[in-house]
C-alpha cells in the first residue's frame, strides 16, 4: 500500500524563477532563500518520496478565462514547461505517475470533488518556481499537478481545500502500490500585486499565520477568503491552498522545518510537517 510520508508548504512567487534562472545562489540577498530549501532537498531524499501531489495555481499560463477550472488534476505521462514570457525554462522534464494520477482523479471525483481532468497541461511557476530549490535535477520524483483557481473570484474556501486534503490523504493510503507520497501546498504568504498598495507584505501576520497553521489550523478553516486577503493582501488569497496540505496531516504535527523570508514583493515561507500521533 502507498505510504503518506508528510507535507511541504512553500511560496511560489515569480521572483523564484528570477533567482534560479540567474543563478543567484551566491548573491547575499538570495543565499538565505536557497538555504531555506536545503532541508526540503534532504527530506525528499531521506523519505524516498516517489510522488509529489502538488497543489498550486496556474497564472494564466496554461488556462485562460474562456474556461477557467476551479479544481484541475493532471493525468499525463509528462508535462511541458509553460512559456511565461522568455520561452520555456531550461528545467528537467516533470514526469507524471499516470496510474496514480488517474486513481487519484477517480477517487476524488467519487468523493464529491468535481475535478477538471487534464491530459495535457503546461506547468508554470506555481509549481516550477519553488521546485528547482526543492530538489536536484533530473527530478527524483514524479508529479501529480493539481491546479486551484485562486485568481478569478470567487475561489474555493480554506474549508473546501482542507476537506480536499482529507480526501487526498484517505485515497493515498488506499492506493494498492507500494509508493511514498508527499503533498505540497503552495502560494502566499502575504502579497498584493496590483493597486495602490502594490508590494504590500505583512511580516508580523505571516509569522502569526505560520504559528496558527502549525498549532491551531482549525481556528482559520472557517475563515472567508476575504479574511486572508484583509490580513495579507489580495494575492494572499492563495494561502487557502496550504490548507490542502494541512488537512491531509494529523491534527498535531511534527515540524521538520520552518523558515520565513521577506522577499521583494512576497512573504516567502517554507515548511515541512510530518504526522505526530
Amino acid at each position: 500500500m502507498a505510504n503518506f510520508v508528510g507535507g511541504i508548504c512553500t511560496s511560489h512567487n515569480g521572483s523564484l524563477m528570477h533567482g534560479w534562472d540567474h543563478n543567484l545562489r551566491d548573491d547575499p540577498t538570495w543565499k538565505p532563500v536557497f538555504e531555506s530549501y536545503e532541508p526540503v532537498q534532504k527530506w525528499i531524499l531521506d523519505k524516498k518520496v516517489d510522488v509529489l501531489f502538488f497543489v498550486y495555481n496556474d497564472h494564466v499560463s496554461n488556462f485562460f478565462f474562456d474556461c477557467y477550472p476551479t479544481l484541475a488534476i493532471g493525468i499525463a505521462e509528462e508535462y511541458e514547461h509553460a512559456d511565461e514570457g522568455k520561452g520555456p525554462r531550461d528545467l528537467a522534464t516533470p514526469y507524471g505517475d499516470v496510474a496514480f494520477s488517474r486513481y487519484m482523479a477517480d477517487k476524488l471525483i467519487r468523493d464529491d470533488f468535481d475535478l477538471t481532468v487534464c491530459q495535457k497541461m503546461k506547468i508554470d511557476h506555481g509549481l516550477m518556481g519553488p521546485m528547482p530549490y526543492m530538489s536536484a535535477q533530473p527530478w527524483p520524483v514524479k508529479f501529480v499537478p493539481f491546479c486551484v483557481n485562486v485568481i478569478q473570484h470567487p475561489i474555493p474556501s480554506a474549508k473546501r481545500l482542507w476537506n480536499l486534503g482529507k480526501s487526498i490523504r484517505k485515497a493515498v493510503e488506499e492506493y494498492p502500490e507500494d509508493i511514498n507520497v508527499a503533498i505540497v501546498g503552495t502560494g502566499g504568504l502575504s502579497h498584493e500585486l496590483q493597486g495602490s498598495d502594490f508590494g504590500r507584505v505583512e511580516i508580523d501576520w505571516d509569522n502569526e499565520f505560520l504559528d496558527k497553521f502549525e498549532h491551531e489550523p482549525e481556528s482559520m478553516v472557517n475563515w472567508d477568503v476575504q479574511d486572508f486577503m484583509d490580513r495579507g493582501g489580495s494575492e494572499s488569497a492563495e494561502t487557502v491552498m496550504w490548507f490542502t496540505m494541512r488537512g491531509a496531516m494529523t491534527a498535531k504535527v511534527k515540524r521538520i522545518h520552518r523558515n520565513y523570508y521577506r522577499g521583494l514583493l512576497t512573504g516567502m515561507a517554507v515548511l515541512i510537517f510530518e504526522d505526530d500521533q
Binding site: 515569480g14 540577498t29 538565505p32 531555506s36 497564472h59 494564466v60 499560463s61 485562460f64 478565462f65 474562456d66 509553460a82 512559456d83 511565461e84 514570457g85 522568455k86 520561452g87 485568481i151 478569478q152 473570484h153 470567487p154 498584493e192 500585486l193 496590483q194 493597486g195 495602490s196 498598495d197 502594490f198 508590494g199 507584505v201 511580516i203 508580523d204 509569522n207 502569526e208 505560520l210 504559528d211 498549532h215 486577503m229 493582501g233 489580495s234 494575492e235 520552518r258 523558515n259 520565513y260 523570508y261 521577506r262 522577499g263 521583494l264 514583493l265
Partner: protein
C-alpha cells in the same frame, strides 16, 4: 459602463479580480494571453498598434494601452498576471509597473523595500 477613461475609478487598495471585471476586461486579457507565444510577442514588439487590431478593443481599452496605465487596467479588469505579460513586451519591469501603481518611481520603491529583504523568523514562544 465604461465610456471614457475617466469612468475607470482607482480607489485606494487592491483591485480584486472578480468574474464581473474579468468579463469586462475579457478582450484585454485575451490580448495579453496571446503574448504567451514568442511569435506574437515579436509582432507586438514590432508594432503593437497593428497587433492589437485583431482583438476588437474599445477606444478606451486602446487608450489604456497607449497610456501604459497599469493601475486603470487592473481596476478595469485585466489580471495582474496578464498585465505582466504586456509589461514585458514594452520592456518595462513588473516592479516598475507596480511602483507606477503606487505613484512612485521604481528607484523609490526599491530603496524603501530593499533593506527589508531578509529572513524574519518571529516564532511565538510556546
Amino acid at each position: 459602463m465604461v465610456k471614457s477613461i475617466d469612468d475607470i475609478k482607482t480607489p485606494d487598495g487592491p483591485a480584486t479580480f472578480t468574474m464581473e471585471v474579468s468579463q469586462q476586461g475579457y478582450r484585454m486579457n485575451e490580448l495579453c494571453y496571446s503574448l504567451k507565444l514568442e511569435h506574437n510577442r515579436e509582432l507586438f514588439k514590432a508594432d503593437y498598434m497593428e497587433y492589437i487590431k485583431d482583438y476588437n478593443l474599445t477606444d478606451v481599452e486602446i487608450e489604456l494601452i497607449k497610456n501604459r496605465d497599469w493601475l486603470k487596467m487592473a481596476h478595469y479588469g485585466v489580471s495582474a498576471y496578464l498585465i505582466g505579460k504586456m509589461v514585458d513586451c514594452f520592456d518595462t519591469s513588473f516592479i516598475s509597473m507596480g511602483a507606477t501603481m503606487r505613484g512612485e518611481t521604481q528607484e523609490d520603491f526599491m530603496n524603501k523595500t530593499a533593506p527589508l529583504i531578509k529572513n524574519h523568523n518571529k516564532e511565538k514562544a510556546e
